[in-house]
Structures are given as C-alpha cells and as structure tokens.
Symmetry: C2
C-alpha cells in the first residue's frame, strides 16, 4: 500500500468523523484523491479480492446496482441477520412472516407506490442516457460554489446555497427551473438535457400467462405485513401491542446506481411493524433502555448554531418530548444496542430526527440511524411512527376492516354517532357499484362519521373512498344521529411504529469500521470483526505439510464444526506469517497452529488472537472448546492469557 493510502487509513482510524458532516466533492479530475477515498479504495480492494462482495454477472460485463456476496460476505450476512433475528424477533417475541417479492398491482396501488414511488429523471437529448435530475443539479451547484473562478456575487452565492439545501423538496417544475437557470448539461457529454419527469422505481412484470395482471417486485417488505394484519392480530389472540417482522429481498430499479453496496437495485431489508394503541404508546420494557445515551440529532440541534448531535439519555429524550413516545424511543435504544453489538462504532452512529419538511404528513415522528463512513453519514435504519396511515390505506382499498378492539375496564357512557345508510336510495343511484359503499357506511368509524356530519352541517357532501373509487355522499343517503350509548369497548385502527433496517448498508458501514492495517506493516490489512459476525471463527494450520499434523488439524476442525463454528484448514505449508495475514484479511479472530510438539510433545497447539497477535499454548483436545467459549463471550482473550502459557511469536510470523 502506498504511504498516502496508509496515512489515509490512519486518519480514518483516528476518527475522520471529526472532519465534518459532509466531505467536499472533488470535481477536478486532477485533484488528488481524498483521505476517505484512499481508505475506501484500499478496503474495497481487499473486500473484492477476498470475495466479500463482487459485481454480479462479471463474465457478462456486470450490470450496475447488482452485487453478489461471495463466501465470507455471505457468511457475515448470515451472521448479521441471525443476530438480528435473535435480538429483535426472539427477544421481543415478534411474529415473523415471509411474503413473496412478486406483488400484484392492487397492493402497491393502495400503499401509494404505484403513483408516488418515483425519482425525477432527465435524459441526454442526444444520447438518450438517463440521469437523476437531483443528482445532476446537486453536482452542478457544488461545483459552482467551489469554483474560485466562478466569480459569484454574494447574492448569487446565497441563492445557490439555498437551492442546494432545498433540493429534496423540489418537484419536477422546481427542478426543471433550477436546471435551466444553472445551465446544467450531461456531465460526460456536455449535451443538453430534457425536462425532468417522474420515473417509477419499481421493477414491473406480469403475473400469469395472459399478460394482463400487472405485478411489481416489492420495493419494501413492509406491505406484506400490513396486508396480513388481520390474521396476525387473530394469531396474537386479538391483543395489542404486538410486532411483526420480515427479513427479505426488496427491489428498486435505481436510475443510475453508484456508491457500491449503499445504492443497489436488489437488497435485503429487515422490517418491523409494531402495532400499538394510538392512545397508549408507552412500552413495558422502556426501563431497560432509558439509561442509554446515543448521539441524538434532534430537529432543534440540526437547526441551531452548533449543528452537532448530543449524547442524551433516551429517558430524558422522552420526558422532554424530543422523541415522541416510549415505543419509538425503545426501538431507538434496541437499534443502538444491535448496531454497536455487531461492530458499528458508537461515536460514528447518530440518530437524526426528520425535519418537518422531510416527514410525511401522517407521520407522528421519524428518526434515522445514520452511520458515518467514507461516503459521509449514511441512513442505515429508519424508525418512524407512521400513525394509522398504512392500515387505513389498505382498509380503504380492500374494503376490509383492519382494526383492533379495546375492551374498557368499566363500561363508558358516551355520545356516539349512529349512521344509517339509505340502502334503497344508494342502490338506485349507484346500482351494483354501490355495494362497497354500503359496506363501508355500515361500518363507519366514529372519526369518519364525525367528519361527514361536519361536512353535512356545512351544507357540503362528503367524499367516501370504497372499492377503489370515490363516492359523493349527501345527507339524504346517510342519516347521522347523535345518541348516548353504553360502550363496553371501542374499535380503532392501530398506529404502527416501523423500524426498517437496510442490511447491506449496515454491513458495508461495519466493514469500514472494522478495517485497519497493521501499525508495523501497512500492506497487512485486518478486519476487526466481532467474533459473532466473523465469517470464520477459526483457521487451523499444520505448521508444515506432514500427514500427522494434517490429521491433527482435521480433528480440531471437526471439533470446531461440531460446535457449530465455521472454520477452515490451510494445509498449503506456506509460512505461518503469510497464513496469518490471509486470515487477518478475512477477519478470522482465532488461528490455531499444529506443530511438532502437538504430535510428539505435550500435545499443545498455538492459539493466536487476531488484533493483539498474542499467542498461547493450549492442548489440542481443549482448543475447540476454548474457541467456542471465546466466540460465545463466556471467556475474554484476557482470561485466556491469564490461564494458558504464553508463546512468543517468532519474529517473521507478524513481520
């Protein structure tokens, strides 16, 4: 590795996050690569060479946005999803489901994806190449602001900065105006570009042989949970709160994917939908996480002078109404524990609250777990209180009540609205099509009835969605009376709190936080993976190529395998130093070397720990059990150093 790269790796190890939130973009091709870019290049070189991940379909020239996980990457992904399953599904008794990726149009029409899951695209007027409008505008504005020769007046500068800050809010007209105003061209060809137009990011297909049933590959796993809400509530004995979860592939046909594993067209999500009574969002286990102090980057901190996140206890954050409720804060705490547990550095992890303009109109509160890496701060987990939006949308579109029932401890007497549809009139007016309307009016919620009564009072008709269309309902079609009633309980649409994890992004950031090079040798790359995450837990080396040593190595390997520990045997007979270096690159935490003494002497083998490179002698019959205890956390390496005789590494071993 060149020493510039070495310096870069060290800078990042020392905490490149101090450099600020945003890395300045290099527009000038001749500018030297930044420290972060050198770090990333050095690490990616190891990741691709050792097949952690590689571009898919390489022998056919690859396709942007698709990656394969090779053997070590695949093992890490398995480990991370299994840890996620243990941490969330098992420990919280969540209901796991698995739904197909191919999804009929009706589901994604109801969820809003068919109409609104779009990015704005522009095309090169000569070549037809496609680009994301916001990406082009952003790059152009950043180049303009950084160019000393641009000679911007202070007013022009402020204006450009303003547009840059508001890019995410711009619609097609706003984007088009800005692209024209700043004379944006295609970056490579310098050709004119088209006006921006929305491009739906879902992969489209058709289901069945007739070709008339449109389907899409799901853009998120969440919808599979929502459409099963009724069954899941029943499975849970009709009781709230409960959470359902799904781990699976999602698909987004990105316009021009870059940024490696961070923006891909097929990726693994792990999503939780926690259904809760909107009047009671306390969490029974809140106490267990309220002392945690993650970095919180609230709306206020983002808009005040310092613009820096602050470590704050989750208990205080809820008390001071910074986080909307206990359940949302509980999941922030559990997410923090999960991410730190798999190796994300807590100093480079923050929870950023959505600003009012980022938040959907229905959302009660929204936080992103952002992890700092060489690309800047990357959203890895979204945590949102989506109120009743999703269940209502599917209820309206499918005409199925998606509600829970709450029994009151004591009956209550209350003024209730009783709505009586005029069946004959509705039938005459809408014929067959009126059927879903009638069903809907027969099961009107109190909120809806109140809303309609208000409209009628103002002399206006009410609009009711049913069976996929809108109906105008006038007072002669629906009689609404207020009555006092004894209520034993109430039906309501639950709120949903949704933690949504991007597994690939988390793994990529974890790679960056784990990567370093040896102080004494910059060519030696190491991943300091936690043992639970590491692709292999141990490697076994016969010191030289010799049948007895090979056979002892294989026995140790078999014992490790029986204990469920992935491992490898390297019988190449290469120098031990080289074999250590090879397994360090894979992040293998423990190496076991079989030598002459293991066969003829005291039967001991060398056990070496990856990060300290320190070594002890352990009996060959015992070593698998020791590694198992190290991996499960029953033993620390310090315990092992205190228990077993040390072995001084030969000079060449760690050279």
């Amino acid at each position: 590795m060149a020493s510039a790269a070495k310096a870069a790796v060290e800078a990042v190890q020392d905490g490149v996050h101090k450099l600020g939130l945003k890395e300045s973009k290099k527009k000038d091709a001749k500018a030297p690569p930044s420290a972060k870019e050198l770090f990333r290049a050095a690490m990616t070189n190891v990741l691709e060479r050792r097949l952690f991940f590689i571009p898919s379909f390489k022998i056919y020239g690859s396709v942007a946005g698709f990656y394969d996980f090779g053997p070590p990457g695949c093992a890490i992904k398995q480990n991370v999803t299994q840890l996620w399953r243990q941490h969330f599904i098992l420990e919280e008794s969540m209901l796991e489901v698995e739904c197909p990726a191919v999804t009929p149009e009706a589901v994604l029409k109801a969820s809003g994806h068919v109409d609104r899951f779009t990015d704005f695209m522009v095309t090169d007027m000569k070549t037809g190449e496609c680009h994301r409008a916001d990406h082009l505008l952003k790059a152009a504005l950043e180049a303009l602001l950084e160019d000393p020769k641009a000679g911007l007046t202070p007013e022009k500068k402020t204006e450009a900065e303003d547009v840059l800050a508001r890019i995410d809010e711009l619609d097609s007209i706003g984007l088009g105006t800005a692209l024209t105003r700043y004379g944006v061209k295609t970056p490579d060809t310098k050709n004119d570009i088209s006006a921006p137009f929305p491009f739906n990011l879902m992969f489209r297909t058709s289901i069945g042989p007739k070709g008339d049933a449109v389907g899409y590959l799901r853009p998120e796993t969440a919808q599979g949970i929502f459409v099963n809400f009724k069954d899941l509530l029943y499975y849970n004995g009709g009781k709230l709160p409960f959470a359902a979860a799904q781990i699976g592939q999602s698909y987004r046909n990105e316009i021009s994917p870059r940024a490696g594993l961070l923006r891909v067209r097929e990726f693994t999500q792990a999503e939780i939908e926690h259904f809760v009574n909107p009047d009671d969002k306390d969490h029974p286990k809140f106490e267990s996480i309220q002392q945690l102090k993650p970095l919180l980057f609230s709306q206020e901190l983002q808009t005040n002078e310092t613009k820096q996140p602050e470590a704050m206890s989750l208990g205080d954050a809820v008390t001071n109404k910074i986080i909307a409720n206990q359940t949302l804060a509980y999941f922030i705490g559990r997410t923090y524990l999960f991410l730190v547990g798999i190796g994300i550095s807590p100093k480079r992890l923050r929870f950023r609250q959505h600003l009012p303009n980022e938040m959907a109109h229905y959302a009660a509160d929204c936080w992103d777990a952002e992890v700092e890496c060489s690309y800047g701060w990357v959203e890895c987990v979204g945590l949102a209180d989506r109120s009743a939006y999703d269940l209502r949308a599917h209820s309206d579109a499918s005409n199925q009540a998606l509600e829970a029932y709450e029994k009151f401890p004591e009956p209550r007497f209350a003024q209730v609205l009783v709505a009586k549809p005029e069946k004959a009139k509705i039938g005459k007016l809408y014929k067959k099509e009126g059927k879903p309307l009638l069903e809907k009016l027969d099961n009107l919620s109190q909120e809806d009835a109140a809303c309609m009564k208000k409209s009628f009072g103002e002399g206006k008709p009410a609009t009711v969605s049913a069976g996929g269309r809108d109906f105008e309902v006038t007072p002669d079609l629906l009689d609404i009376q207020e009555k006092e009633e004894k209520l034993n309980g109430r039906k309501f649409t639950p709120s949903v709190i949704e933690p949504s994890f991007g597994i690939g992004r988390i793994i990529y950031c974890m790679f960056e936080h784990a990567y370093y090079t040896r102080q004494n040798n910059e060519d030696k790359s190491v991943f300091r993976f936690k043992a639970a995450v590491a692709p292999l837990k141990a490697a076994v080396f016969p010191l030289v190529q010799q049948p007895e040593m090979n056979s002892t190595a294989r026995s140790i390997s078999a014992a490790l395998t029986r204990a469920g520990l992935a491992n490898t045997v390297d019988t190449t007979g290469t120098t031990i130093g080289k074999r250590y270096a090879r397994t360090d690159e894979l992040g293998v935490p423990y190496d076991i070397t079989v030598d002459r003494a293991s066969i003829d002497g005291d039967g001991s083998v060398t056990l070496r720990e990856r990060d300290s490179t320190s070594q002890v002698r352990v009996h060959k019959e015992k070593v698998a059990a020791v590694v198992q205890q190290l991996v499960s956390g029953e033993l620390t390496w310090q315990n092992v150093l205190d228990t077993f005789p040390a072995q001084q590494p030969a000079a060449e071993e760690e050279a």
Copy 2:
C-alpha cells in the same frame, strides 16, 4: 373432525404408501373424497388456521401460486434452512454465495432458459383462459380410461395408456395431435381449445430506466454459481473438487398453479454445485455413507415387472454401477440423512433414477429424491451429474475460459493439436465482429481442436460459437498441426454434480409426515415435529392468572430465550388441557406449567412432552437447561423420565 376424516388420518398414519404409487383421480364431482384428500383437508385446515402458511394478498382476493409463511411456518422454514446450512455448507466446507434474483438476459440465454424453459399452453377459444396442454390431456385420458361407459376397445385402451405414459415426451405437434384425437375441451366451459404453443415460465422485467435491457427473475439459483466459477475456483486456491451453494428465491410463472405449496410461482431453493475432475469422481468421505440403505428406484427397477424400489446400500449401488459415481452417491446419502433428520419418514422416501428419455443429453446420471404424500410421490430434491454442460455453455457465451488446471504428478509426453488462426484473413473476413472468434481460436481446447480437425479432414467447415453468434471456420482460417509436447498438466472443464433442494416442497411433505390426531380425541391435532424443526421449543403456562405465577413464567421464558430457544408464554388462564391442545397443534415439543407449588412449595414446575403427553416435575431454575439439553439431543425424554419424579396428568388435561 368428522369420523371419516379421522379414519383417513389413521389410514395415512398406518402407511397409506402401501396403496400404490398413483392415487386414482376423482373425475366425478359427486364421488366421495378419498382418504388422502380427507387427510389433506384436515391437516391444511390446521396449517392455515394456525398461520403456518396462508394464501398471499388475501385481503385483495389472493393470486394463485403465492403463499405467505406465517409465524410458525416462517420459524420452521428458518430452522430447516439453518439445518441445511449446518449439514451441507458448514460440514462440507462449501463456498456459499448470494446472487440477485433479477438476472440479465445474456445469462439465461446462455443457460438455455430463454429459449427452452417453457410449458405448452392452450387457451379457451371463447374465454381466453389459459391451461397447461399436458395437464388437460392427462386429465382427459385418465377420465376416459376410468369411465366404464366409454366402451373402449382393447386397442383403443392400449393406445390411450401409451399416450398417457409418454405425455412428458410430447412436443407441441404431438400434444396438439393427441388433444384433437381425444376431442379435449376446456374442463369448466367445455369450449374448444387452441393448438398448444410454448409459454416461457420466466417472469420478465426490464433493468434500468431506458427499458431496453431485458431481465428475468431467475428460475433457479444455480446460474449465479456458474457465472462465478472462476472467482470461486481462485478463492479455493485453484483446487478441485470444491462445492459452492446458494439458498434463495426462485421464480416460475406457472400457467395455472395448483397443489398448494407444491407448485408455486415463488419458492426457496437450496442448490449445490460440486465441481469435480471428470476423470476422478470418487469422494474422500464416501466411506461415511456407503452403509446407508435408502430405497433406490433404479431405471431397471422402474422398468421390470415389480416396479418397486429396493433398499440397497450405497456402496453396493456404486460397485454395481447402479449409481454412476461415488460423488453422486455421496450426495444421495447426505440428502437421505438430511431429510430423515428433519422428519421425513424413511419408508416414504425413495431415490428414483431418471429414465433415459427423461435425462438431458449431457447428463451422466440423475436421481430424484421423491417423498410420498397425499399428492403421490413428489420430487423434492434433484441430484444430477450434469457433466461439463453448464460451464461450457457460459464459457461459449461469455468468451471466458471456465476451466481448472490439473498438474500431472510426472510430466507427460503427448501428441497435442496446436491451432494457429490466420489473424489477417479472419480480420478481413469478419472485421470487428471477428474479435471474439479470434479470442476463442487462440484458446481452443484440445477437444474442440480435435473436432475441428475432423471436420476439415472430411472437407467440411467447422462451426464455432463466439460472442453470441456462430462463425463458419474453414481450414484456410485455422491451421491445426499435431505435435509431440511435454505436458506438465492440463486444462479441463470440470464436471458439476448438482443437488438441488426445493425447500417449500420438503417442508410441505414434512408437515404431512408429522401430522396426526390423538387416539383418544380425533379433534386434537398434533404435529410431531423434531425439536430442531419445531417453530417454538417450549410454551410456558401460569396455571391461573396470578401475578407471582406470571412472573415466574416470564423468568423461565427469559431463561429459554437466553439459551436461544424460541418460546411463548400463555397467560390466558384457560384450562391447561386447552392450552396443551393449542401448542400440540403448533408442534411445540415441551410445555412447562407453573403452579402453586412452583411459588410456595418445592419450587418445581410441570414439564410435559408432546407425543407421550407424560409429565415430570423439574425445579423452575433448572427447567430451561433441561429443555435445552432435550432440544440439542444431549438428553432423551426417557433420560428425563428416569431422572425426575413423574406427575400424573389430571384427567381433563389430555381429554
């Protein structure tokens, strides 16, 4: 459950497989359902009611061929795939990969799927409804042969039976002729049908925003492994044999899917590609499985008089050349151990060899693991020696050498063919398009060179595929000379042995083999899942609703969770008998009941085993550890009965 259903369940439990290979089809709507159909209906009722699996998108009316796994089904699927991973990937040190489902056309063109992955379809001439041609023909012929009023002459009968036996071999013309000859109509409408035409079963989509890059959802996971062969061989240090594996979703747009989980449009495959030197297909661990005696249904046994499979040791099967080689037999043995290990009854599992007309021209040998269930014998695993077909196909299409190198122990002297392309002539003739041809000719294998030399000798030009097109090569474009050369080794295309598992089918058959009803109460359904497969390992019941019992139950649950054992607490206070019945339906192997004595007495709880329904008293602090040892297999239930004091169940508990 009606007593007819009860009888059916018992018949199946008693070994309905004795009834014969094929179940007679009920064509008459008024005919009573068969024992197998009643058994299936009773079991499916439980499976759907308890959300093992349910039709997807139910609130939108469902779409044929898509199923969701609900919480217990999802847990079982997780357990089965993790067991598969341990049994194959970990124990055999396979290289696991994970590739995208969205696949560019070039890959599936090379594999043959774009051109040949089709079923023949006919449409209803009036309604346009689509049907599989072979299914309609089969149903019509079976109805004809079973209809006593059809009055078939012996000749006609033999002819119909012949066609029925050969349906899978018929091409579109053959199918069309037969459909016309037997006057087949659409079953429901009795309308005329169209001539059969091929329908490609892949879901088609387009990749990227321009809409011109065709992609498909992969119809199998195997291709992702083949296209990565070069990198995987490098990862394995260039050495053969090695195996790569992939677990993931595959997609087939079936024309009219039926048969529940057995024929779905999206499903999970677990596929292994074992790459091996074609000259040496012995397996180093063959000894470990050669004594196993699975039911083998060889070509000979299928075509002789008895038509019955026979139990035979795998060692004998290889020695007698019934199974082509040790490696294929080794995987048959490992597959047998896996399937029996997760709960498939060995008596209802057979390995059926493909008949010559079923086997692809390139296949060296092919066996299916078939499991008997209420639908008959169902293919759950395919085990094929596919020789070098797949790697050759991708090598030809991508113009990349996909070969391994074998170093000879001693150098060999041999006559080799040296091919020298006439670059200038080729350039002049084919211009730019000749580039892939030149590359190919520069790297010609000995087999290909020999083949071309033969053509030239016969005065014929040779056809060479390169860069996706065919070239005609004449002797003036390529000079081929025979020379003696010293060879240190050779390049060759490895053979591939492919075990391919359909996880959903295996799970469905496992459900059938696990399902029974209590002898004393036909309403009580039980799944006798193996503990490792069971969705929950234990349920904890406070005997009555009481804070101290609830809190003890929660402590036990937390201890189980810490041990990684999925569990549930049922605090409903319903009778213990009802709670046992509920968990029996989910196949939970162990129930723990907390009562007065657990709090005020000796601190013991009741531990009950699902299948024997016998109970013992174990101390509440110890019970989680006992369950853990039972689940891991360290203890048997008999050990527990011998160690702990028995408790007589109250009469009503198992009523």
